[in-house]
Subunit: 456 residues, 2 copies
């Protein structure tokens, strides 16, 4: 609990209805999608950057830990107030500051939801590319803090590629203005990208200038079923080696198809053990030809059949049906987010099968195959101590496998608390040491999301 | 001159043919495209990252200034060894380490030329998007150091958007490994983008993992002529407000057309005072429809005529013809690289005309209008002291105009020495102070390109 004297300093900045200290009120700010719980001592709801500056100045003076929070949909623990202190909830900073279609820009406060940005852009034939599965309820502040991606990153990039500039407050309350308002700009260091994906450890984002791109005139694609996972992985590599760019390239493995069959017995061909959804977008003229090119590229001896699908709803039917089934098993899965070069997907999936077998832990794998970004889910019973031990040993070897294949431990979820024990396996000591020095430069008292990203 | 004892430490690392100290040998490394001359004390030509590490370790020990240099084609003074010391020429680090088409990646040493990357990628139907006008002879190390762009940045981004990771050596000789090999990755801070555009002030890039993208199957476009510059600028805004993305959108103003007419009297319509080249790319099916859409979007009361052009050579004829004419007048121009939001282009061009008139300094303006990135050229006689004084006063007001229009002082050239006096006009004190702190974190002895970017 914060001492009463310090609380009174907070309430000099914010009215009581925007500063919670009652543990019951604070409870909703103690967890995220990791389902771990760390109650904060207080929660503050600033409305503008000046309030954020004053709050951070106060926390810095008293060395109070500050965890910035969007909508708490992260899966890596980035928004968990592990050390207590203050949760700085940006959810009430919801002003859309500018919708500037001629310049393809939206300027918004961090609490604006991803879906609200899309709704504002759509009438102008524009959209903002980051499309995490939480897009309907996650905020752009959280999207920026994690460099959120999603299925269309393969063609349109992740958050990092679609932000022009921002305002952010450092630990001492100074207001940074990074980047620019234009689609080009090279004046000074690129602090915009340094802050994107820094998970609230360097500064608190209080405004973002988002780069919009044109909505495609038409969307279509291809579904393809394979008799084995390896053939499917090889098809991904073949698709990505030819010169038409899919707008999404999603993969479902045998385990994912088993889940689907359990609920929808007739949805899938009986002998399919892996599936691709290959989306193409562009002009109405190009969709048919591009779909044909995808059908040609995805063919190999393991292909059962591939067919063009005229609309996005049909294309995504299986993937959408999978989501609620995954939520059903959520308490019983360890959900990872690894990436390998697409040419190594077959090696990854074969290695995962071997590790699954060795440790007696079933898994379900699916995801953004065009980026090599696979959501690996280990299915476990959390109450089975031995199985959990096996799952952890398995995960440890999954990470080694990924790095041996020249991959990375996280494609879009981030490090947070969940993966910090492994960061030194991926990042060499000199680079990690420099990252920590940058952290100290921004936040000498270590108040911003302390303990995250780096192992103690 | 370096003391003999220190020179012997260098020659313990490199053979004599890769370490120059004779002023005659060093002279070619004393200038860049600014045409300013600062002779270095020595030039070193490392072949691999280990040599760079040893060289930087030595320079750091003796506090010797180090200016990393690609091919010296920069226009902002970034590669000028203003304080003498060592020029670290990366031009002999020319290994193409991997051409990995299935993963759409090329890994290369910094001395590989941009054009060599394109040649290696082309047989696979791929290219690397950064396309500065120096692409035939500039190196990727220099492209990264400046975040080089070019006409196709409007659709494909600049260098920043097309690099996955890199190896770089810090001032103390430590080897950083940033980013990853995959098209997605969010583990740790984004040091890749922090180093891109940092103009050799933070670390020396010794390897880059470049992201390739598919070559378009077809290219076409539209040329459009206007009776006045304002109508032309308004057309740019209209083109960028509709949902088809040009792959290039280049602008030539009245002064540029005058230059062209001087050499090619019949090339242009007599009454044209501004011109657009609107390139579209995509599938063969989409080019005609997209060109029609561009013709519709670029029409307004000031349009003289617009016509679809079937091939890229015809589309770019006027722009290509302009380049040598600009080189002819190069010693007599001050060349800027400012950016404004596309909706403010008309305001910019009207403001430039007023400033030109007020100061009696003619100008020629052209460039990447789709990004709002205009090359402003003030035509001067360097021997006319009063005119040079007027030109400087004019430039000062051009920068104020650009910032008042929510623009930036440089879209692709960088700050270097040429624009450092103005950086504090664009970047606020808190942000600038943090940038300087980051510089100290990477380079505590201030040996890496000292004095660049920031005013003393």
């Amino acid at each position: 609990m914060l001492p009463a004297k310090i609380c009174s300093e907070f309430t000099a900045i914010l009215p009581a209805e925007r500063f919670y200290t009652d543990p019951v009120d604070c409870y909703a700010y103690s967890y995220d999608n990791t389902r771990k719980i760390f109650p904060p001592d207080a929660v503050a709801f600033p409305l503008d950057s000046e309030e954020v500056q004053r709050l951070l100045g106060l926390c810095n003076k008293h060395s109070i830990a500050v965890t910035a929070r969007g909508r708490g949909t992260g899966t890596a623990g980035g928004s968990l107030p592990e050390q207590g202190g203050l949760v700085l909830s940006l959810e009430r900073m919801r002003k859309m500051i500018a919708i500037d279609a001629p310049n393809r820009v939206i300027v918004a406060q961090p609490g604006v939801l991803n879906e609200e940005v899309q709704r504002a852009a759509r009438p102008y034939g524009l959209f903002w590319p980051p499309d995490p599965s939480s897009a309907a309820y996650s905020s752009i502040g959280g999207n920026l803090a994690t460099s959120a991606g999603g299925p269309h990153a393969i063609k349109y990039g992740t958050t990092r590629d679609n932000v022009l500039g921002m305002k952010a407050v450092t630990a001492n309350g100074a207001l940074l203005e990074t980047g620019c308002y234009t689609s080009k700009g090279v004046v000074g260091y690129d602090l915009t990208r340094l802050l994107i994906g820094s998970e609230g450890t360097l500064a608190v984002i209080v405004e973002a200038t988002l780069k919009l791109v044109p909505l495609p005139a038409a969307v279509g694609g291809v579904t393809a079923f394979y008799r084995d996972v390896t053939s499917c992985a090889k098809a991904v590599s073949a698709i990505m080696a030819q010169p038409i760019w899919p707008s999404a390239l999603e993969f479902l493995d045998t385990g994912a198809l088993v889940l689907l069959r359990g609920r929808y017995p007739d949805m899938l061909p009986a002998d399919a053990r892996a599936m691709l959804m290959i989306e193409v977008d562009g002009s109405a003229h190009s969709i048919a030809a591009d779909s044909e090119a995808m059908i040609a590229a995805c063919g190999n001896s393991g292909l059962l059949h591939a067919k063009a699908v005229a609309d996005a709803a049909a294309l995504w039917a299986a993937r959408k049906a999978l989501s609620p089934l995954l939520r059903d098993i959520a308490p019983k899965k360890i959900n990872e987010d690894i990436v390998v070069p697409v040419s190594r997907l077959a090696d990854l999936l074969e290695g995962l099968a071997a590790l699954s077998e060795r440790h007696g832990v079933a898994n379900v794998n699916f995801g953004h195959a065009g980026n090599g970004n696979i959501h690996v889910n280990l299915l476990v019973d959390p109450h089975n101590v031995e199985q959990m031990r096996q799952a952890e040993a398995c995960l440890d070897q999954v990470f080694d496998l990924v790095l041996a294949l020249n991959g990375t431990l996280s494609g879009e979820h981030g490090v947070g608390s969940e993966k910090r024990a492994f960061i030194a396996r991926e990042i060499n000591p000199a680079t990690l040491s420099l990252m920590k020095a940058i952290k100290r430069t921004f936040d000498p008292n270590n108040i911003l999301n302390p303990g995250k990203l780096f192992p103690a």
